[in-house]
Amino acid sequence: MNWRRSMLGLVVGLPLVALLGFGLTRDPARIPSPLPGKPAPDFSLPVMDGEGQVTLAALRGQVVVLNFWASWCLECRYEHRDLSRSAEAYEGKGVHFFGVLYNDTAENGRRWIEEMGGQSYPTLLDGGSRVAINYGLYGVPETFIIDQTGTVVHKQIGPITADRLAEMIDPLLAGEGRP
């Protein structure tokens, strides 16, 4: 094989191999959300078991943990205990936990909570999935952590753990009072 032909092969082949190799390093199922760093879309949703509405804008100055879940969602069962315990641990510390029922009926939601041994924070009803779409939801569970300024800090796809929650929330609480 003459050198010109091998050079041509290298010039055409190497970038192609590099491009395909780069593709292998990327997981097509992991889609980066554009939300972290952006203002959290506001919402005003009714509480499933309780009175009135919860409005995100009214919670400015507090950390908000928003967990989308459904009774038909298997992975939601894995994270439920961690979420409930974390919500108890952060009670009165300027952190509010909310569940948002996604694509499900309140009746199924209540039965699920009972089956899981209770939920230490309120769940909100998102009829028509408008808030879910505003938050760019792909599925459940997904958890959004919103800081005191109303900015999305983190989006968790899949079940979240107590450790992960603390990792995200503690720095926000420590930085309270910063401009």
Binding site: I31, S33, P34, G128, R130, I133, N134, L137
Partner: protein
């Protein structure tokens, strides 16, 4: 006998693309599409369904896709332009939601690479074809045939002409 014949005739008429009168119970319902219906369909075909594999919002039967189509309709009715509606979905879901990537940055590769490859192929074909043509021409007219008659062959020219 007669009703059977009548229905057979009606069936034949329908099979032959007969008039609706032949099958009165199948009157087609004509739904007048409004401008917004058409816009919803167009936008939904350009957006990806988040809970499906490679389906557009228009083609997906999922509940979320249905609700997202409702969102498109609501926003259009509120007076948003199709581009603004798409920008809304990009803001919450990211560029990923667009079935056709925007021609910017790294995405440009998707649009430029095929053109470059086709042009490269044409150039390659041209070069190779020219070489082949050159070789065939050379084989058909070996240098001897073009040059002076070979004196050694001269005695045989008459023989071969005979």
């Amino acid at each position: 006998m007669m009703p059977g014949l009548a229905s057979a005739l009606a069936l034949a008429a329908v099979l032959q693309g007969g008039t609706p009168a032949a099958a009165p119970q199948r009157t087609p319902v004509i739904v007048e599409e409004t401008k917004i219906d058409i816009q919803v369909r167009e936008i939904a075909s350009e957006l990806r369904c988040p809970v499906c594999q490679g389906l557009s919002l228009q083609d997906s039967p999922s509940e979320l896709a249905q609700e997202m189509r409702d969102v498109i309709r609501t926003q259009l009715e509120e007076g948003k332009t199709p581009d603004e509606v798409k920008a809304y979905f990009v803001a919450s879901y990211g560029e990923w939601i667009l079935l056709e990537p925007t021609a910017k940055g790294f995405n440009l590769a998707v649009y430029l690479l095929p053109v470059i490859v086709v042009i490269g192929g044409v150039v390659l074909l041209f070069v190779v074809a020219r070489r082949w043509l050159g070789q065939t021409a050379a084989a058909a007219n070996p240098p001897d045939a073009l040059g002076e008659p070979d004196p050694d062959l001269a005695p045989w020219e008459d023989v071969s002409a005979r």
